[in-house]
Amino acid sequence: MINTSNGMMSTTSSSNAQSPGLKTYFKTPEGRYKLHYEKTHPSGLLHYAHGKTVTQVTLAHLKDKPAPSTPTAPSSSFSTGSGVRSAAARLLGGGNGSRALSFVGGNGGSKSVSASSRVGSLVASSSSSSTSTSNFDGKGTYLIFNVGDAIFISDLNSQDKDPVKSIHFSNSNPVCHAFDQDAKDGHDLIIGLNSGDVYSVSLRQQLQDVGKKLVGAQHYNKDGSVSSSRCTSIAWVPGGDGAFVVAHADGNLYVYEKSKDGAGDSSFPVIKDQAQFSVAHARYSKSNPIARWHICHGSINSIAFSTDGASLATVGRDGYLRIFDYSKEQLICGGKSYYGALLCCAWSMDGKYILTGGEDDLVQVWSMEDRKVVAWGEGHNSWVSGVAFDSYWSSPNSDGMGETVMYRFGSVGQDTQLLLWDLEMDEIVVPLRRCPPGGSPTYSAGSQSSHWDNALPVGTLQPAPIMRDVPKISPLVAHRVHTEPLSGLMFTQESVLTVCREGHIKVWMRPGVSESQSNNSETVLSTSLKEKPLSSGKVGSSSYKQ
């Protein structure tokens, strides 16, 4: 908009949307990731939304038909980062015969996955939806994201930039959301608001409705009756039979059950010690929320369940990562950041590691086995706002058993960069790194001093480590992906998704996927697009600027 005065800007400030500095691909040792799709919201919203809320993204896969009687398998919802919730990982291994793509729980997908088979599955799923023109069943993979006072829903596999649906909230701004792939009773999407209010709805029902309001919603913590503190993070309890948890800015986390009417009286005792962890259960069986966990002084910034749902990780304003045994309601372990608040956290698929990112610009790798920080990733020039393991990554040298397991993970920051990292446990122990091909600076690592090995009893929190004591790792790739500070990232089988605070999403296709797939999926998906109720989401023009 105001482009008159760029001449004098320094190189790092060329942050206009048309910025020529942004490339549409980035290189990794395994090949190029290419910008495939961009998703955004109607531009008219920008001025209202700018800076008011931080966009988070949830990935949601809607299956063929509404399945009211899904077996209560462990739920698929798990989080991959503060800005991004993903519920789609399991859909690929969900036992559907047509999708023979193996999705290995441990670390990364099988290498036998080929581009063509993936396209095949896409075609299959898309074409079947064309049979139900009149009764749109909403099947597909969607991105749900919040901007300002609205929730937008975009079709992930469509080249259309604009969302297919927008839902406006008159009372407050939606700030966090989560989707449960295997939800019973239809309600699979939960949304937390700035006011503390929480809604559960059926995603399919929203897509079928043409209006701009939430339909068929169940309302919890109505008008902040239980807590008027801002929601910060929300998650379904994996295998929790419709239970979900909502974290708030006042350091409390509430446990709800979606089957229960939210109207029951839920009052909890006054918290005596703000700094002390405590759990209080509702006095009446009809109450919803059913429990309150007071976790820390100050805001809980992000929460993440381990894939099996056994453990819950939280990070907060006080700089502590805490890991709880969810069913026992006990603190297992945790530790403090180098300094400042922690903003995001994510589990590895095998539950062995937790990533955190925060205001010390560091990506922290926490080992559940060692109950301590095992590596600090240095490379961001600002706060780290999103972290995620790439669960589809398979290490090139992981053929034999007992070999060093290598993990791939990503991080995004307020420096507008996406960083990819390799974590090889051998390297952590002997922390001198080989020079990464990207030419990024290497950092010499600290000494493995003896006081590192002190095992701590259950339930204790570690103080902030000393700089020289923690091995450092360097990123494999550092790429400036957006013009605005980023708020989250997510890995899918085909792509890496990055999202910025202002609500722009970029889909980066993995090497070897983009060319073969883009053609196919575009044709397939353009047909399926026609059948979708487009009206509601298409507010602005598609030529979105800045």
């Binding site: 908009m1 105001i2 005065s5 760029n6 001449g7 004098m8 800007m9 320094s10 790092t12 400030s13 942050s15 206009n16 001025h47 700018h50 800076g51 800015a249 100050g298 805001s299 304003r317 700089g319 180098y338 300094y339 400042g340 608040a341 205001e359 010390d360 610009d361 961001h380 020039n381 600002s382 706060w383 307020q414 420096d415 507008t416 006081h451 103080p463 902030a464 000393i466 700089m467 020289r468 013009t483 605005e484 500070p485 605070r501 202002e502 800045q546």
Partner: protein, 369 residues
């Protein structure tokens, strides 16, 4: 002084800190640069306490000549001894004295808050040093009040002064930087120490204070026309230079260089870059592993799009509450509101309130378990 004050009192309720006063400062025409810095200094508790102590001990020796130090002490005493908990005070004498002292601040033009802070701290130090010297010549035998404790180590810090005095202003704000230059021919490292009251950092778009501090201490190569005269080689040589913090100050003042001279334009321009600052900070660019943690307690904010106009306000943390001072007005704000003053990720943004001077206080050396 009714409405705003009582509103703040209501907001704090019984949490209003015992003995604390929250007073707005009247604006005498573009004196917000002064008001915003004064509030930050007032809520720099060790500085305030030592100034009040100085005032009470100095008053007993009879009324000395008026200077910037006495005016500031007067003002702080006036605030702290108010019967009411909130209200507005006119820092008239202080501002008059400031204008008398320095013609730079005499006009009604928009002034730079950092320049004012710098001038004020140096002026206070000068006054204290002169007083100490006078006291010394008065009574040669008795030991001067605040002699340097670890003399030999830092003795040359202030260069010309034979016997540098460490006043309470120094004790609060002074840190020591060491400028290490390594000759690339003979590998000799020359270290030169210099003292500082604040760190002025170059800023980049979408970066953090941590990153700006890293850049501040990054290695710079001196070559071509900018070679280094190596005493050992007795000639100009290529060299590597880096700045490290030798002694971290108790109060760390960080000045963001938001006003940059743009040669093509022949004038200054305000950089509205988004530079995030954490509420807690550690310095990693120190000579020794200091690892001491700092906590943010005040932010001077520049409001406006250009360097020659605009407004200054300040955010202050007092007894775990954040307060917003805008000349006469004082409001309570949420801690999370601090992040609305980081700056703009895009240049066109309508947000023009940008953190300009940050005040961090050391929490003492952290856990060395």
């Amino acid at each position: 002084m009714g409405a705003a004050g009582s509103k703040l009192e209501k907001a704090l309720g019984d949490q209003f800190p015992e003995g604390e006063r929250y007073f707005g400062l009247e604006n005498f025409g573009n004196t917000c640069y002064c008001n915003s810095v004064l509030q930050a200094l007032y809520f720099c508790v060790p500085f305030r306490e030592q100034l009040l102590e100085y005032y009470s001990s100095n008053k007993s020796t009879g009324d000395a000549e008026e200077n910037l130090l006495t005016c500031l002490a007067d003002l702080f005493t006036q605030i702290s001894s108010q019967k009411k908990k909130t209200g507005v005070i006119a820092p008239k004498r202080f501002v008059q004295r400031l204008k008398k002292q320095n013609e730079l601040f005499r006009s009604y033009m928009h002034q730079d808050a950092h320049e004012f802070l710098n001038f004020l701290l140096n002026e206070l130090v000068d006054i204290l040093e002169k007083e100490a010297q006078a006291a010394k010549s008065d009574q040669e035998t008795s030991s001067p009040p605040e002699k340097m404790v670890n003399g030999p180590k830092n003795a040359q810090a202030n260069g010309s002064h034979k016997d540098p005095l460490v006043t309470w202003v120094h004790k609060n704000f002074q840190g020591i930087l060491t400028n290490e230059t390594r000759c690339l021919r003979c590998e000799t490292v020359t270290a030169r120490d210099e003292t500082f009251f604040d760190l002025s950092l170059d800023i980049e778009q979408n970066s953090s204070i941590t990153s700006c501090l890293k850049n501040f201490s990054s290695t710079e190569t001196l070559n071509a026309e900018d070679k280094f005269f190596c005493d050992k080689c007795c000639s100009l040589q290529e060299a590597q230079k880096r700045m490290k913090i030798k002694k971290p100050p108790h109060i760390l003042v960080i000045h963001l260089k938001r006003f940059k001279y743009i040669e093509q334009l022949g004038r200054y321009k305000k950089l509205s870059y988004r530079v995030v600052f954490p509420l807690e900070l550690k310095l990693s660019n120190t000579v020794e592993d200091a690892e001491s943690e700092y906590s943010l307690f005040a932010v001077v904010v520049h409001v406006g799009s250009g360097p020659n106009h605009g407004h200054y306000v300040s955010l202050v943390k007092s007894h775990n509450h954040w307060l917003f001072f805008d000349d006469e007005n004082v409001e309570m704000i949420d801690e999370s509101a601090v992040q609305t003053f980081f700056g703009s990720a895009q240049e066109y943004s309508s947000n023009t309130d940008h953190g300009y001077i940050l005040f961090y206080e050391s929490l003492g050396t952290s856990n060395k378990s």
